[in-house]
Amino acid sequence: MDVLVNPTESSLLRFTTAGSVDDGKSTLIGRLLYDSKSIFEDQLLAVEESSKRRGDAHVNLALLTDGLRAEREQGITIDVAYRYFATPKRKFIIADTPGHIQYTRNMVTGASTADLAIILIDARLGVIEQTMRHTYLASLLRIGHIVLAVNKMDLVNFDQAVYDKIVADYMAFAKGLENLPHVTPIPMSALNGDNVVDKSENTPWYTGPSLLQHLETAQVHTETAVDEARFPVQWVIRPISDREDAKLGNLHDYRGFAGRVASGTFKVGDDVLVYPSEMKTKITGIHTFEGPQPEAIPQLSYSITVADEIDTSRGGMIVKAGEPAQTAQEFDAMICWFADKKTLKPRSRFHLRHTTNDVRAVVTDVLYKVNISTLEKSAASKEFSLNDIGCIRLRCASPIFFDAYAKNRTTGSFVLVDEQTNNTVAAGMILKPLVDAGDEDAEVAI
């Protein structure tokens, strides 16, 4: 069943679950869907039957998201599941991610597009390494909002002292993060539904909102119209035809740069810089299938035409003239390493994918790795193995144009692709370009 939200007004919230194995992430999502009446009868029936067949004591709501055979056999989540629901106030896209450390890459997949993360803690266990790892990853990915779900409160008699201690421990850890997200703690029982959709009578000492109330009202920051304007070019639209188009006239000379606005706003008549050549020109048209548009706004897709014959294509980028991107061949970045059979070390080579660009890149240095529990940086080992997080220096075959990830999630992120297997082996977030040692003016300019 799908709630009828007003399609012209509803906003979208994307959130992800995180936390250790068996903390109750999938159960919580199942509970949220169930109590908000977002489950269809046939889905529920199927889950009831599967639970019975497995001999579970109660209906196992985790089966609503743990859909793969291997997941059901082992009772764990392996890969991220996407679920959708709506209330009259909002549409939601949920990524339910695995807690198992082996599948951290799938947790990062779900988290990379989220505006908010629900980090679960088993109230009996408190803050453990996986809580810290996922909190660190969420802050690294710049997810601005965290819900700290202290779960399984039913197993600790809904004891406020237990809850308070966990929240205090967590905040003590989170204080050490470079960019501390906004944290909202909530005591819960995903299994029984306490404080999930409705406020629970078992926690009279808790005065905050239920999870759903919080999700419905949380104000998250996404790319806004006032950020610096960025338009990575995906594809060049060249009809190569003498057809007369009803809205565009003769198409013989039409050459539109197709892409999606990463941030900021472009207007017809704006002076722009076009990468890689960094030539200046003016926007002459902003088009969609609906016809000419006065402006291009964040997250929407357009085809943009410019005044001059400029040599750019896929991998290029249009920015506002007064708001140049950074250009560099060598830069420092934080990465999470995902490969289980290979390691990353100085001189490792990759395909680097950044916006719509694809260039070869080599690791010129490993600067440090981060100890997840202590947040200490250590340069003792120059080798990344599965799930390591840290800072490396990369040099590309040709310059790329970007922003620091802290400023722009789209133009500051990249992935590394293994040259042999073609697998995506690392997620990267650009910190800063490497400045030529002898050129001090350049440092000031950047």
Partner: protein, 302 residues
């Protein structure tokens, strides 16, 4: 907060994926079944490349078990959006002995489509097939990436999918491998209907309420008017004239109808909002086992 609506977000995301597919692959094709999801996908493809024509053909894997209305619509639609159409025939796979037709009155060609699809992909050297699959349809689909990698046998390995981060899609592959790409991954059934209403997209008449001869079999309402589904003798007296519509349109042998008087998009949207069953709840192919969809997908199904 962004000022755009969720339908604007979904439309733009799909256009982005369609353009990525055109840019990253040598020879993509868009799987077109005549169902509402593939219609919406093709509609979005026209928008993505406007004012150019679609840079890839539509590909219909034809089981031969089609509702005539769906075929009529297909041919009209292809003309309307100025696309080209490639057809892969399941009948050809049967004639060539590539597949065995299922036996009995519940026989379906749905599963056979996989072989025809993979053969067609090989014959035309397609390296990416755009599919209208949505993650809200089924629990195995809920796990799939936008860019879904297939090995040289066309198989999906759900336990070992590539991480898919931010809006960066990795379409690199070895020779002989290909990708399935799902631009509508994040859409729900309701989003599809609200979009069809917003865009005024014409649909095959099967989606709207009409009178039809129906046989009820294993709780499913199946078509008994085209003769595509063979009836058992004992079933023949049970055939009833009913007021129905289809929630999904695919191979006629496994597409169940729902009783409905909804004859406009507005009425359908209201009906979908009140529905207590998923749309795939009307599909016999998913009911064969708990992980039927995952098993079919591993072998290379849509």
């Amino acid at each position: 907060m962004s000022a755009i609506t969720h339908l604007q977000f979904l439309e733009s995301e799909a256009i982005y994926i369609l353009r990525e597919t055109a840019a990253q692959f040598q020879k993509p094709a868009l799987l077109f079944s005549g169902g509402k999801d593939s219609i919406v996908m093709a509609w979005l493809a026209r928008k993505a490349f406007y004012p150019s024509k679609l840079p890839f053909p539509l590909l219909h894997v034809d089981t031969g078990h089609n509702f005539p209305e769906a075929m009529e619509y297909r041919d009209w639609f292809v003309q309307e959006i100025g696309a080209t159409l490639t057809v892969g025939l399941v009948q050809k796979s049967i004639d060539e002995g590539r597949v065995q037709e299922e036996k009995g009155h519940t026989a379906s060609r749905n599963k056979l489509q996989t072989v025809t699809l993979l053969d067609t992909i090989e014959e035309h050297q397609f390296d990416a097939c755009l599919g209208g699959g949505r993650r809200d349809e089924e629990k195995a689909r809920a796990k799939e990436r936008f860019f879904s990698h297939r090995d040289e046998f066309g198989q999906w390995d759900p336990k070992n999918q590539r991480p898919e981060l931010w809006n960066i899609f990795n379409g690199r592959k070895h020779f002989g491998e290909h990708f399935r790409v799902f631009p509508l991954s994040n859409w729900t059934e309701m989003d599809i209907w609200q979009y069809i209403r917003q865009e005024n997209i014409p649909l095959p008449s099967l989606y709207f309420s009409h009178q039809r001869k129906i046989i009820e079999r294993h709780g499913q309402l199946l078509d008994a008017s085209t003769g595509i589904i063979p009836l058992l003798d004992e079933e023949k007296p049970r055939v009833k004239e009913m007021t129905i519509r289809f929630r999904t349109v695919g191979d006629a042998t496994c597409t169940g109808a729902v009783e409905s008087t909804a004859s406009t998009i507005d009425e359908i949207v209201a009906e979908v909002a009140a529905a207590r069953q998923t749309e795939r709840g009307t599909r016999a192919d998913d009911k064969r086992s708990e992980t039927a969809m995952e098993d079919r997908k591993k072998e290379g199904y849509f």
